[in-house]
């Protein structure tokens, strides 16, 4: 009798150990050939920037290696968009390093090195990995993971260790309302994601009155639809359905039945790529007649076209599109400072680097995050976190990604205030094509309405 209990206990222990052992050391993926491990300064526990400036700190022509830490969702729900984002960031880093790095006024040349890990689209992993990046890997600057949920976890770590973090792929407003000081947002905030879609709808068909919001129960999408509902009600719309679904939902049948029952003219919502695509597919399979259908995140991804006919007519807000017309000239006209490549140059470079892969706005966001950091370092003329922070606070810039300016108030420090969304729609022109349908100043085609 006793022996069996001992055997069972050993079995339990074995299972627990194998489960723990399974989550082995994360495989650090070095983005450049150099090794990430900082030189062993056993003595200095001083400011991190000192460990960056290596031994020969003779000012003239000194070289400095800045470590940028971030995580990628190589697996899990956020995989598709995260990889795009990191591709963009990596392209920026490779271009800067290939050009010899950034030169500061005292002659120091700064090159960048990326250290990253797989966060598995999991918040707990993000916390562990960013702590590791900030402490063991001694990253000088951090870039956020992809998605608001994961970024919220990473931002707290960045603030805790006093690291400047540029967030990209993260639109939720809440992250910036917690009194953070070192975190800066590249994306348009969630509260402004769907407001333009409602403007578009009103502009196209003023008779529409019934709206349905079906959204993912995640931080980001909830923020978006709450703001959108408030705006919709202010415009006089009637919200006939407002319901969230679990991020892991595979069966949208019950929602689609409810939608059919409440007979809305327009459906807005979704969440991220995976659930958004599944929702669009199942909505099409059920032949639901709706005039206007806007989904978050999924439609602007080129992969959305894999849905075939189900994608036609679907609208999506985008942080950036290749057709976007921000150039040095438009900056000069608007009296703004310009920095970086224009959209065409970015698209060409991206396609060349990634075997013809078309960049999505996630890719552009990744690149923009690096670009913003670069400009901040140049403006600050140093890699000192406090100086870089001040430079970011003062930034008022036009880039291929759009206008970049940060909120500097205490309540919402770091929130993006300059950038706004464009809206695309998939149309069938002998094959599926993404057209910009709003704002009218940037539109490439008229909205296809009602949806086929």
């Amino acid at each position: 009798m006793q022996r069996k209990w001992i055997v069972s206990l050993i079995l339990i222990l074995a299972v627990i150990l194998s489960a723990c052992g399974g989550t082995a050391e994360p495989s650090a993926s070095d983005s450049t050939a150099e090794e990430a491990s900082a030189p062993a300064d056993t003595g200095s526990t001083a400011d991190t920037e000192e460990s960056v400036e290596e031994a020969p700190s003779e000012s003239m022509g000194g070289e400095s290696n800045v470590v940028i830490g971030f995580t990628t969702s190589q697996t899990g729900n956020q995989n598709v968009s995260s990889v795009r984002q990191v591709n963009g960031l990596q392209l920026w880093m490779d271009e800067v390093n290939a050009a010899g790095g950034i030169e500061l006024s005292d002659g120091t040349t700064i090159t960048f090195e990326g250290v990253s890990y797989d966060d598995e689209s999991n918040t707990d992993r993000v916390q562990e990995l960013y702590t590791r990046l900030a402490t063991e890997d001694e990253a000088d600057f951090l870039i956020s993971p992809y998605s608001s949920g994961l970024t919220a976890a990473a931002a707290v770590i960045a603030e805790q260790y006093g690291k400047v973090m540029i967030t990209t792929g993260a639109a939720s407003d809440d992250t910036y309302k917690q009194g953070l000081t070192t975190v800066f947002q590249a994306y348009t905030p969630a509260s402004r994601y769907l407001t333009g879609a409602l403007d578009l709808l009103q502009n196209t068909d003023p008779d529409v009155s019934r709206l349905a919001f079906v959204y993912e129960n995640s931080k980001f999408s909830t923020d978006v639809v709450e703001a959108a509902r408030a705006y919709a009600e202010s415009l006089g719309y009637e919200v006939v359905l407002f319901e969230g679904y679990d991020p892991e939902t595979a069966d949208f049948g019950p929602f689609i039945n409810k939608i059919q029952d409440s007979e809305p003219d327009a459906i807005l919502g979704g969440g991220h790529f995976q659930d958004g695509s599944t929702f669009a597919r199942q909505l099409d399979e059920k032949n639901v007649a709706v005039k206007f259908f806007t989904l978050l995140v999924a439609p602007p991804e080129p992969d959305f076209a894999d849905l075939g006919q189900a994608a036609v007519g679907v609208i999506g807000p985008s942080q950036w599109e290749p057709q976007a017309s921000f150039t040095a000239d438009s900056a000069a006209e608007a009296g703004m400072e310009w920095f970086g490549p224009n959209s065409e140059e970015f698209v060409t470079a991206y396609e060349a680097a990634y075997e013809g892969e078309e960049p999505s706005y996630h890719s552009a966001g990744g690149y923009a995050a690096g670009l913003i950091l670069q400009k901040a370092i140049l403006d600050a003329d140093s890699v000192d976190p406090a100086a870089v922070q001040a430079a970011l606070d003062a930034m008022d810039l036009l880039t291929f990604f759009g206008h970049i300016q940060f909120d500097t108030s205490e309540e919402a420090h770091g929130l993006q205030t300059g950038h706004s969304m464009v809206y695309i729609q998939w149309q069938d022109e002998d094959g599926l094509v993404k057209e910009v349908v709003w704002p009218l100043e940037g539109a490439t085609k008229e909205l296809l309405y009602p949806m086929p």
Binding site: G76, G244, P254
Partner: protein
């Protein structure tokens, strides 16, 4: 009213597949008193099986289903002899831990090989619309195949020699041994049939929902409820109970936010355990 009919139909069609999934669990449970905690993981393997065969070999999903069923049977027999046979006479905890360990191994390997990124079987059979109801071809096929499988299982259990052996062993293993039934082999076969049903259910689900290696978890939970509701070891009971649960899942969202579905399902489960633990359709191990 307009909302109820499509919801009910959707729920019932899904209920057939739930029934098959539960049948696998309840058969093993009923025959050898083992709770197969690897049930969900094997369903997920069924999903991946169809996905891989369809995507890389180009074989039609319903033909791939036959292949997946065969593989499920073999896998089950292997799992039985490796992990379950030695602890079959031990206290419940041992066999529970054993199947749990198998579950962790499958999920661990699956995550390492396939990653946690969701997959889709890009297969469509169109849809039929009648009034306010639109039904997917793949869901109807899944329901039809589920009924066919149930029929096949019934025929096996009640009209074939091996089926009789299974029932005999389930009833009283020692007596069956004395009558010349090779009980260990029959237990292996039963476990294999149980996992085969799980794999079939997974394969059918893959034709209309996206999935990951972890997707089997929620279906495993439902299988427990259905197994208890239908009476342990009763395949037809499992199918009917699956329909009841599927119907509930279809109807509840019509009145409440969808997030209430699992809550009500489990309250229902607790109520059954309290008031009719032998299930709705008897509980004798046939």
């Amino acid at each position: 009213m307009d909302l109820l009919i499509p919801s009910l139909i959707d729920g019932l069609l899904l209920g057939f597949v739930y029934g098959i999934a539960a049948m696998g669990l309840t058969l093993i449970w009923g025959v050898m008193n083992v709770i197969n905690l690897a049930h969900g993981a094997i369903m997920a393997l069924g999903m991946f099986g169809v996905y891989l065969i369809f995507t890389f070999l180009g074989i039609h999903p319903y033909l791939a289903l036959v292949l997946v069923a065969g593989l499920g049977l073999v896998l089950g027999i292997v799992i039985y002899f490796v992990a379950v046979n030695r602890v079959i006479d031990a206290p419940h905890l041992s066999s529970l831990l054993s199947t749990f360990a198998v579950n962790m191994i499958i999920i661990g390997l699956g995550t390492a090989v396939f990653t946690a990124s969701p997959r889709n079987v890009d297969f469509s059979m169109g849809s039929f619309t009648a009034g306010s109801v639109t039904v997917l071809g793949t869901r109807v096929m899944a329901a039809v195949l589920s009924i066919a499988v149930t029929g096949g299982l019934y025929l096996f259990l009640y009209r074939s020699r091996n089926g009789r052996y299974v029932r005999a062993v389930a009833n009283n293993r020692d007596a069956a041994e004395l009558m010349g039934v090779p009980s260990t082999r029959i237990l292996g076969l039963s476990f294999g049939i149980g996992t085969m049903l799980a794999a079939i259910a997974g394969a059918l689900i893959a034709t209309f929902f996206p999935f990951t290696i972890l997707a089997g978890g929620s279906y495993e939970l439902k299988s427990f409820i259905i197994g208890v509701l239908g009476g342990l070891g009763n395949p037809v009971g499992a199918l009917l109970a699956g329909l009841i649960l599927g119907g509930m899942e279809g109807i509840i969202p019509a009145f409440l936010p969808t997030t209430w579905v699992p809550i009500l399902e489990f309250i229902f489960f607790v109520l059954i355990l309290l008031f009719r633990p032998q299930g709705l359709f008897g509980g004798d191990k046939s």
